[in-house]
């Protein structure tokens, strides 16, 4: 009982945390680039990144299977070269959650970067600082609140991820069964007690995480 209750909780936390970190690592630089570029390429890239927000999770899961499945080019390459099979592992769940969370990070970060007065970056340039230094000393600190907001949304979305995860990581108890899938499973199996405790847990954990992040965001105010 303890394992069936706690394993999905811990797995979900791990998956959501790693997915959020991954989405930040990819999404923030991407948003920084998009904020400075105008044109068809940037619009297309922006639209592609936003796609997971509007597509049904099952479609997304299908796309992911096409990309990382054992018979796909990427999947086959990974298996032959490194002996790595992604599908139906918890790492695949991380990938699914990350893709789903990415648009939330990119959207918030893009809005935050675009709201920075371009003259601040121009001033930094005339003062001799490199573009990379400007990103870390001006753009990033000034976009901080937007980034935290994006992180909160991304984490919340990753915690609740169900459809795409089910398709690429499956529902293997003790291996890939995340919280939201475990709840579905418990309800299907008629185990109302387990479903109840899992629902209470996910609610509390998520609320706790969101409150914590909001506090962090409020610490930096000028």
């Amino acid at each position: 009982m303890l394992d069936t209750t706690w394993f999905p909780v811990l797995l979900s936390l791990r998956v959501a945390s790693l997915a959020t970190l991954g989405a930040l690592a990819v999404g923030v630089p991407l948003a920084a680039v998009l904020a400075r570029r105008r044109g068809w390429g940037a619009d297309l890239l922006s639209a592609t990144v936003t796609l997971p927000l509007v597509l049904p999770p099952t479609v997304l899961g299908y796309y992911l299977l096409v990309v990382i499945g054992r018979r796909s080019v990427v999947g086959a390459f990974l298996e032959e070269r490194f002996g790595v099979v992604l599908v139906f592992t918890w790492q695949a769940a991380v990938l699914a959650a990350m893709v789903v969370a990415l648009p939330l990070v990119v959207r918030s970060a893009l809005a935050a970067f675009e709201s920075i007065d371009p003259r601040l970056e121009a001033a930094a340039r005339t003062l001799g600082r490199s573009e990379l230094a400007i990103f870390f000393t001006v753009s990033l600190p000034l976009a901080w609140r937007g980034l935290v907001a994006g992180t909160v949304l991304a984490f919340a979305r990753a915690m609740g991820e169900f459809g795409a995860t089910l398709m690429v990581a499956g529902n293997i108890p003790g291996k890939t069964q995340t919280l939201s899938i475990a709840i579905y499973d418990a309800v299907q199996a008629g185990r109302a007690d387990l479903a109840n405790s899992l629902v209470v847990l996910i609610s509390l954990v998520t609320i706790g995480a969101l409150v914590l992040l909001a506090r962090v965001a409020r610490l930096t105010r000028w």
Binding site: R119, A123, L127, G128, R129, A133
Partner: protein
């Protein structure tokens, strides 16, 4: 030292600027949208001109024909933006130190302390920009730009963000601060008072071009064309034909009367415009009206048809009496309020005006194409 000869085509706007500037403050003066700020951005490397050459301190930073285009980081150009663009998340000290990242810490600290002291910011070093007054923010922006010892300093409307009440004091402060940092400085402004008070030379911009560039008194008193004359506050333009040119005067056949201007490079028969500042159109005192005009002075009878009072001064519109010549414009007259009261202008409509040669600036008549410019609107 600055040399600049650039052009840039934008949708619906063409910038073509030639400028040479030595030490001291040069004002780039002109209406909004005339290309002053765009010129600064080109000089700083924030906007790329299509063609041309920019040399800062004798070093080419942009040369289209040789493919030279240094990024802003390597141009050694200090830029004080409109609204200052201070980093809101950094303290005054961190803002000033921002461009000194290459210096080792002790030297950096020393330079920052020196700059803060010079700009009288010593007690404010740990404040954030939001906690400073407009004037203090301006000094932080200056300190941040000057501490890197630029070869060229660009000031983009540095007083636009400030109340008119404190502007006068800050003008004097800026003059002192820039005096201590003798670097070629370009000051963008659309205020003539500011341009005149703060600079040695004025470059007058209109529609992306420099109409005239020279010592401020030269530009102010001897504008090279009607647009510049209007920018310099000349409001009266009386058309005429040159009748005679001597070493003492130029005699002009005006619309229905003769007037005299200073000696000028014109030839008899040439069409000219006599430009007179509104404060240089003199109302003739009633007790002197019988004495007749002095040498090189034209007198005209007329009536005051409009007046507007601005606290310290009064603006009048004067119209020639009788069946006036169709080419004779109404004259704008500006009087200090105390003179207006002493003369008793309010009581009477009929006044003679005196136009003296010393106060007249002669310009060759231009085709009417300048009429569409927004310059003349007042």
């Amino acid at each position: 030292m600055l040399r600049c000869d650039i052009s840039k085509q934008l949708p619906g706007f063409r910038l073509e600027v030639r400028l040479e500037a030595g030490r001291g403050v040069q004002a780039l003066f002109g209406p909004s949208g005339s290309g002053k700020s765009l010129t600064l951005q080109c000089l700083a490397g924030l906007v790329r001109p299509d063609t041309g050459l920019i040399e800062v301190g004798g070093r080419p930073v942009f040369a289209a024909d040789r493919g030279v285009d240094l990024p802003p980081q390597r141009r050694q150009v200090g830029y004080v933006f409109q609204n200052y663009a201070l980093f809101p998340h950094l303290t005054v000290k961190e803002n000033v130190a921002y461009g000194l990242h290459r210096l080792p810490r002790p030297q950096r600290e020393a330079r920052v302390a020196e700059a803060l002291a010079a700009m009288r910011l010593a007690g404010l070093q740990n404040r954030r920009p939001a906690e400073l007054s407009g004037g203090q923010q301006q000094r932080v922006a200056l300190a941040r730009a000057l501490v890197t010892r630029p070869k060229l300093l660009l000031l983009d409307e540095p007083f636009a963000a400030l109340d008119s009440i404190i502007r006068g004091r800050l003008h004097r402060e800026l003059l002192e601060l820039l005096d201590e940092a003798p670097v070629t400085t370009l000051l963008v402004t659309h205020s003539l008072d500011e341009a005149y008070a703060l600079s040695r030379e004025i470059a007058v911009f209109e529609a992306g071009r420099v109409l005239q560039h020279g010592p401020r008194d030269e530009v102010f008193y001897h504008p090279s064309c009607k647009s510049v004359a209007r920018f310099m506050g000349m409001k009266n333009f009386i058309p005429g034909l040159v009748a005679a040119v001597t070493e003492q005067y130029t005699r002009v056949d005006g619309p229905g009367f003769t007037l005299w201007g200073p000696p000028a490079a014109c030839r008899p028969g040439q069409a000219v415009e006599c430009c007179i500042r509104p404060e240089h159109v003199l109302l003739v005192r009633k007790d002197r009206a019988g004495e007749g005009p002095g040498p090189l002075e034209a007198r005209l009878d007329g009536v005051i048809v409009q007046e507007v009072t601005y606290g310290g001064y009064v603006q009048l519109l004067w119209r020639a009496a009788g069946p006036a010549h169709p080419d004779m414009p109404d004259l704008h007259v500006t009087l200090p309020t105390h003179v207006y009261r002493r003369l008793g202008v309010a009581g009477q409509a009929r006044w003679s005006v005196a136009l003296k040669a010393d106060f007249i600036h002669l310009l060759p008549a231009e085709p009417d194409r300048t009429e569409w410019t927004r310059a003349g609107a007042d």
